[in-house]
């Protein structure tokens, strides 16, 4: 019989007894049939609604275990059996206690079951994102296939408004794709041939054809689901306490109940019935479930909420470590900065300088050339053809453009030409700001400068200031020289810079910082994996490679620095909720048991078994509710 049925039966049959409890003092109304009616109603409740408690308690008893069912069964059976005895010997009965305790405990369990399923919905929502079918090319025909028949290498067509089925690479077409559901990134992404698409995201404007690269449990969504599933069921170290308590909690409560009875009956000369009521209250009010539910439900809601925001927290251990961090260490390139150099300043005639530079650099393979070409493209400049192109290794390039000799290069190349004092000064200013300066010239004269820098991400400064507000020390690790590194750090407000770090020694630097307190490391590259593992909390960012995701304790699916303060705030919030739940669960038992035992009877504070049952039902319910409310936390409030 389902929980709801048991509750329903118990509730309806208890109502007449409640009615008598309320009306008797007012108008002296008695149930027709008196005690016999009470016995009948309660017996049905005991058989239908309360028997499963006894069954479970007995099964557990045989295995030397005792749990909540033991307490409910012992409490209700004691009240019921004693009342029969009292009825036969013409003393006061308390059938209604057995009936109401059963009703309240079942009410608690019905509500709690609903809350628990609500706490675990995040994962199902993630899995529901999966597309059901895909339009796949088979023998030159586009056919609609169920997802599990799609194989790596298949060509897949996606119409506007349809879901992209699996991870792959765009071959033809152009469109914007809404990736918010997987990456948390709210801006739609533009997809052209060569770009990666992610399964379960929604194609919006154009038709795309892409080649499947990852299918089944290899797709990004499948991996996220797996990660969240593991996180939601992981153990937080703080749980060890409840693990230990749970083993002896119930037997201890039973012993306290016996002692309560002995003291009231023998020591304080209470009547047998009174002493028994105190003992039953003790058994009924104790709630080991609240202790057991405190951590897992909060963990489940917290990690589920994170997944929705593109923050994947791997397990409870990470969550707990994030709670007392001292320092956040960032890798510079690709984490603080965009990871690719861009043109920041152009000195001289912008169009002329950029056109000469771009025309020459078109033929160069230098990494900085890419930045110049991009800048030219943004200004819609048409590039001129050059002749007599020459590369001067370590200096720059020279060529003839529209009949005149031109050059683009660094200060070593520029030294061969004449330069005005004004340009020379400006070059120094730009270099002091940690920018790479390119000299552009025509005929023997330098005519302009282009400054290039790997710029900080637009949100970097704000995100770092949010971290500082959380009381964290910020550190940047980089292989660059001190001057360049300082300039970037200054721009974004980083506290401390460790420059000239070899990629292989990042982990050592993290360990060094760990001597002063717990350290989080934020990085994205393959070479960051050792540092991500070494840190107390490794945060793998964005486009991050599989290895970085494997090594990180927190994975941010979005390449956005806001994820760092959000992830840490969410971890802290979840851990605080776990502590609050545990505190409440412990305090409830620590205060509730003595009150039920009648320790404060002198002040008039006593609890009848019915009230104890109600309190017990709501203590575990309140813990689960508190966890579910964690899911209502607003994104903006996290930082």
């Amino acid at each position: 019989m389902s929980l709801k049925w048991r509750f329903g039966v118990s509730l309806i049959l208890s109502l007449p007894m409640v009615l008598e409890m309320v009306l008797h003092p007012l108008i002296h109304w008695m149930l027709p049939g008196g005690n016999w009616t009470m016995l009948g109603l309660t017996t049905i409740i005991m058989i239908i609604s309360a028997r499963p408690f006894a069954q479970s308690a007995w099964a557990a008893f045989k295995k030397h275990h005792a749990n909540m069912d033991t307490l409910v069964a012992v409490g209700t059976t004691t009240a019921y059996v004693y009342s029969i005895y009292a009825m036969l010997t013409h003393q006061a009965v308390f059938f209604e206690s057995a009936a109401l305790v059963t009703t309240f405990v079942l009410l608690g369990q019905v509500l709690e079951e609903r809350m628990r399923s609500r706490a675990s919905t995040a994962l199902e929502k993630l899995m529901d994102l999966q597309a059901q079918t895909a339009t796949v090319q088979r023998a030159d025909q586009w056919v609609e296939l169920p997802l599990n028949e799609v194989q790596v290498g298949d060509l897949i067509q996606v119409k506007p408004g349809a879901k992209i089925a699996v991870d792959g690479k765009v071959l033809t077409g152009e469109s914007t794709v809404d990736e918010a559901m997987v990456t948390g990134e709210s801006m739609p992404a533009l997809k052209k041939p060569g770009d990666q698409v992610i399964g379960a995201t929604i194609n919006t404007t154009g038709t795309l054809t892409f080649q499947a690269q990852k299918v089944g449990d290899q797709t990004m969504l499948a991996q996220i689901v797996e990660l969240v599933r593991k996180a939601q069921n992981s153990h937080a170290p703080i749980q060890k306490l409840t693990d230990q308590v749970s083993n002896f909690f119930v037997p201890i409560v039973l012993i306290i109940a016996i002692i309560t009875y002995l003291i009231w009956y023998l020591g304080l000369n209470a009547s047998n019935a009174q002493a028994l009521i105190f003992a039953v209250s003790v058994v009924v009010i104790a709630c080991p479930c609240a202790l057991g539910l405190a951590t897992p439900t909060a963990l489940m809601v917290g990690t589920g909420l994170g997944a929705k925001l593109g923050i994947l927290i791997k397990n409870g251990e990470v969550l707990e470590a994030a709670n007392d961090l001292q320092t956040v260490v960032f890798d510079k390139t690709g984490t603080i900065t965009q990871g690719q150099p861009t043109v920041t300043d152009i000195v001289g005639d912008t169009v002329q300088v950029l056109q000469i530079a771009a025309s020459l650099e078109k033929l160069s393979e230098h990494p900085l050339a890419q930045a110049i070409l991009q800048a030219a493209q943004q200004q819609h400049l048409s590039l001129a053809a050059v002749t007599n192109f020459q590369t001067h290794t370590g200096q720059g390039v020279t060529a003839d453009l529209a009949g005149s000799a031109t050059f683009v290069g660094n200060h070593r190349l520029a030294a061969n030409y004449s330069i005005s004092d004004q340009l020379q000064q400006q070059a120094q200013v730009l270099e002091a700001a940690a920018k790479t300066v390119i000299f552009v010239g025509q005929e023997q004269q330098v005519i302009g400068l282009i400054a290039i820098q790997d710029q900080p991400k637009s949100e970097a400064a704000a995100a770092i200031s949010a971290l500082k507000k959380q009381g964290l020390q910020t550190v940047m690790l980089t292989g660059d020289n001190q001057v360049v590194a300082q300039a970037i750090a200054h721009q974004v407000g980083i506290d401390q810079v460790i420059a000239g770090v070899l990629p292989t020694t990042k982990a050592q630097q993290v360990q060094h910082l760990q001597q002063q307190g717990k350290v989080a490391f934020v990085g994205d590259g393959i070479n960051d994996a050792p540092a991500l593992s070494a840190a107390d909390v490794g945060i793998a960012m964005g486009s991050g490679t599989d290895i970085a995701i494997e090594a990180g304790g927190i994975v941010l699916t979005k390449n956005d620095l806001w994820g760092v303060p959000q992830a840490l705030a969410l971890s802290r919030k979840t851990f605080q909720r776990i502590k609050l739940n545990l505190f409440w669960a412990f305090i409830y038992n620590i205060l509730g048991i003595p009150i039920a035992a009648g320790v404060f009877a002198g002040f008039g504070w006593t609890l009848s078994p019915e009230l104890a049952g109600l309190a017990m039902a709501f203590s575990s319910l309140s813990v689960v509710t508190s966890s579910v409310l964690l899911g209502r936390t607003k994104l903006e409030k996290l930082t």
Partner: protein, 128 residues
């Protein structure tokens, strides 16, 4: 006189509770039988887990068949934190749970409320 008897009964009851619940008792252990490159263990769920300790061999696919006969909502889920498994156990149904036996070691499982525990030991092949 009655009071003395009640007192003694109370003490005996307390003693019995301590002996029965709090002192160590032998738990049941089952070692999986390997058949056709698959190892299967049936686990009864009633007032705890029977067997409470399951020994598996490393590297051979394993299935634990859980069957819950206990109506308690305490036992309605089984959780393997190390494997990311959180499986509902409908009453009186056999629920097979696949275990990844790649890594040897000791793992624990628990009910949804972390009150009942079981242990999973994956033994390295060379120990045999």
């Amino acid at each position: 006189m009655t009071k003395i008897i009640v007192f003694c009964l109370g003490l005996v009851l307390i003693g019995l509770i301590i002996w029965w619940f709090l002192l160590p008792h032998a738990t049941t252990t089952a070692t999986a039988q390997v058949q056709d490159q698959q190892q299967v263990v049936d686990v009864q769920v009633a007032g705890g887990y029977d067997p409470e300790t399951v020994v598996l061999r490393q590297g051979i696919p394993a299935v634990l068949n859980f069957r819950r006969s206990d109506p308690s909502s305490c036992l309605d889920h089984v959780v393997f934190p190390d494997f990311g498994i959180n499986q509902a156990l409908p009453q009186n149904q056999v629920v097979p749970i696949k275990i990844d036996t790649q890594t040897a070691g000791e793992y624990s499982w628990a009910c949804g409320m972390d009150m009942f525990h079981g242990k999973l030991i994956i033994q390295a092949a060379q120990e045999e």
